[in-house]
């Protein structure tokens, strides 16, 4: 019999958690303590391999971990207490589920003998988080803990990535058991995501693409999530075929914005050329996107004349909203690699010169144009200046949700994947500031900017305190229009300009607020001040709140009104009152 007291794998549940983090290569976790996780915090205190970042609100921990994950490709890790700690995580978990971000969230739970008793800070964490996680576990016995933890990392980061929750009662954290390092058998027996695409389907896809006259590639966040190899292969495919490419909000950066085949983003606030190309194409190659309603507009008028290929690792994404002709289930990089190989070996790229001529005409409409103004800063102009000032730098951008987010997507050019973090599926105001924090933790020497709105930024503003504590020099670039601009825009377009509760009557003085937090406040009011102020923001090696005062009533165009087709886009030059009223006449009930 071995002497258990000298077995290094004998340890408490709390120690197992920290040990598992180390074994999975976790360097940073984001969290907030409380009664039900004190044993874990005690273990964290006694080691130095995993650094814990103390946030100011659990939601901040969740979004920070999301930013960390999206900018590194590794799962983000969160540690929170039971009850309110867990419920505060619901928004980031849902956000991560919608955008397929790998998160491992460890929650404390009341001791097993109190579960179901309405104990202090008890909540049904696995019940509450079941619909907002890829999977979750309540660990009732310390002997299951190591396996569950390893499985949690595996489930979060393989297949279609997503958030997982491991709920650990306090008595399980104290109990002693045997730890084992990750091993193959820790994988859930019933979980086996498919990575390799079907060869016959790939041949069919190549045949379709090779005979296309008006092809378009439509890529999404799945290409980013798959890893940098997928982006590399996507670029190679575009280069080889000469096809035009557009992408969703989540997919920006997979193909470089400066690339000659780039059409810009598609969808509700995408470019005219991207949406028209989608509408008029005869062959569509969708990679890692999911035909979301912001992309398709009216589904019965969506790209009516095309045959559609859809590459996705999640079979449930295929044929959900739009009927697909050639589905290919598999990992983006894997399938793109095979597809490229078959294309090169067995097919010739089609001659699509006339298609490009058509696209050129749409491009010439210049759908992102806006009227210049020398007295007030226009939000589009502000983003353009920010982009120019940061060009060529090692820069990461996060955003909040609203008009500023769309303008950032339209006017900031992304050259590389993993550089753009935004809340796409859930549209979570308050995402960008903590996400920037997480990105900065992962990339301490990079320039990390949250392009923010005045309303959104107040939702998680408290995390500036975290930035100061950990000397994370994030830059919060607030496009301050004093409105919930996107809400105001919809009210103007759809509700007779009755601006019900979309004006912030009492905004804080962001410069003073910055000082109160112990960071730097900068303000720009005139277009002429902008470049200098941005330069100052970049050069300051501390967290900055940048109050950029922009035109209050600017609208975000172009726009496909809800329920309209891609070829019914409203362009800025044409968006006079009459045209707008007509375009939006029937869409009131839609989201």
């Amino acid at each position: 019999m071995s002497d258990k007291s000298h077995d290094p794998n004998q340890m408490t549940g709390a120690a197992m958690i920290v040990r598992a983090l180390i074994d999975h290569g976790v360097k940073h976790i984001f969290g907030y303590p409380g009664g039900a996780v004190l044993p874990i915090y005690d273990e964290i205190f006694q080691q130095s391999e995993v650094e814990h970042i103390l946030v100011r609100h659990e939601q901040g921990a969740g979004h920070a971990a999301e930013g960390y994950a999206r900018s590194t490709g590794k799962p983000g890790v969160v540690l929170v207490t039971s009850g309110p700690g867990a419920t505060n995580m619901v928004t980031p978990l849902t956000d991560a589920l919608m955008d397929s971000i790998p998160l491992v969230c460890i929650t404390g739970q009341v001791p097993t003998h109190l579960i179901g008793n309405d104990a202090f800070q008890e909540c049904d964490t696995v019940g509450i988080t079941r619909p907002c996680t890829k999977h979750n576990w309540l660990v009732r016995d310390v002997k299951d803990l190591a396996k569950v933890l390893h499985e949690a990392f595996y489930v979060a980061s393989t297949g279609r990535p997503g958030p997982v929750v491991v709920d650990v009662p306090k008595d399980v954290q104290f109990a002693t058991g045997t730890y084992h390092p990750p091993r193959k058998s820790d994988v859930h027996v019933s979980y086996a995501p498919r990575v390799k695409g079907d060869a016959t389907q790939i041949r069919k896809a190549v045949a379709l693409l090779a005979s296309a006259k008006r092809p378009v590639i439509y890529s999404g966040g799945g290409v980013i999530n798959s890893g940098s190899e997928a982006s590399k292969l996507l670029r190679e495919l575009v280069e080889f075929t000469g096809f035009p490419i557009t992408s969703t909000l989540m997919g920006l950066g997979a193909y470089p914005a400066s690339g000659k085949n780039w059409l810009g983003m598609l969808g509700m606030h995408g470019t005219y050329e991207a949406n028209m190309a989608m509408h008029d194409c005869d062959a569509m190659l969708c990679v890692g996107a999911r035909f979301d309603d912001r992309i398709t507009g009216r589904t019965d008028a969506f790209s009516p004349g095309s045959k559609k290929i859809h590459i996705d690792i999640d079979p449930s994404s295929i044929n959900k909203n739009i009927r697909i002709d050639i589905p290919i289930i598999g990992d983006a990089a894997n399938v793109l690699g095979d597809l490229l190989q078959v294309f090169k070996a067995e097919a010739k790229k089609p001659d699509i010169r006339t298609w490009w001529q058509e696209i050129a005409k749409w491009r010439a409409r210049n759908s992102l144009s806006y009227k210049k103004n020398s007295d007030i800063i226009l939000p589009q102009f502000a983003i353009q200046r920010l982009f120019e000032a940061t060009r060529g730098r090692d820069v990461y951008i996060t955003t909040e949700v609203g008009q500023h987010q769309m303008w950032a997507a339209q006017f900031f050019g992304f050259e590389e994947p993993h550089r753009w973090m935004t809340s796409g599926g859930l549209g979570t105001m308050g995402y960008g500031l903590p996400a920037a924090l997480g990105v900065q933790v992962a990339h301490p020497d990079s320039l990390v900017i949250d392009i923010a709105g005045d309303a959104s930024v107040q939702m998680t503003m408290q995390e500036m305190s975290t930035a100061v504590q950990y000397e994370l020099p994030i830059k919060i670039f607030i496009l301050n229009n004093q409105y919930m601009g996107m809400v105001r825009q919809w009210q103007q377009l759809l509700h007779g300009n009755r601006l019900s509760h979309s004006y912030s009557e009492a905004l804080p003085d962001f410069v003073k607020l910055a000082e109160a937090f112990g960071c730097v406040g900068i303000q720009a009011i005139k277009p002429g001040d902008l470049d200098g102020a941005i330069k100052e923001m970049i050069s300051v090696k501390r967290p900055v709140l940048f109050d950029c005062r922009v035109a209050a009533l600017e609208n975000c165009f172009p726009m496909i009104p809800s329920g309209k087709a891609h070829n019914e886009m409203l362009l800025p030059a044409e968006a006079n009152d009459e045209a707008t009223a007509a375009a939006f006449a029937s869409g009131k009930a839609l989201v």
Binding site: H135, Y191, D300, S316, I318, R323
Partner: protein, 180 residues
């Protein structure tokens, strides 16, 4: 073209709704049934019938049989949504295989006297329903069969003094030598 209803209801769609029986093999772990039911309620799918029981206890495998209705595209979605759940091993559309047997058990309680009792017994015999409890003024019948047969039996019992019915829901299995 058979497109799904738009996120934006531009027009009413009238794709025909079909009933499908799905067999789902799952890891029998806490919460797995809640997961499956949550999927249906969260995404607005119908559940006509649901049965669940552990079928291989050494391996902790349970079999869930779900009867659901929807357009072909929705049925397709339901299967994929089930299949991607972590504790789900397999989803088989028994209706599509065309080679499945479906059975349900019902217990049917009747109260009555005289002619009604005699008639009820006669019908029960025709349906091969067994009497599993009786008093001078009541019967409980046990009947097995597909849902249509059971519905028919219950309809016939209604005017004869039907008190209540308890049904197991549908269980299904494929014909022939192969397992799912």
């Amino acid at each position: 073209m058979n497109q799904p209803a738009s996120a934006y209801f531009m027009e009413e769609r009238h794709d025909p709704s079909e009933s499908h029986t799905l067999s789902v093999l799952v890891q029998n772990e806490p919460g797995v049934l809640a997961r499956v039911i949550g999927l249906f309620s969260g995404r607005g799918y119908n559940i006509e019938s649901l049965t669940v029981s552990e079928t291989e206890n050494q391996k902790h495998v349970s079999r869930i049989t779900i009867v659901t209705t929807g357009t072909p595209m929705v049925i397709e979605q339901i299967k994929h949504q089930l299949d991607r759940m972590v504790p789900v091993y397999r989803v088989v559309d028994m209706t599509l295989t065309g080679r499945s047997i479906e059975r349900e058990l019902a217990m049917v309680k009747l109260r009555g006297t005289g002619e009604h009792r005699v008639e009820a017994l006669r019908l029960a015999e025709a349906f091969r329903a067994r009497v599993i409890d009786a008093t001078t003024e009541s019967f409980v019948f046990e009947i097995t069969g597909n849902s249509a047969k059971i519905n028919q039996f219950i309809d016939l019992m209604r005017p004869l003094g039907l008190v209540e019915v308890s049904r197991t829901g549908v269980a299904a299995i494929g014909r022939g030598a192969e397992g799912m």
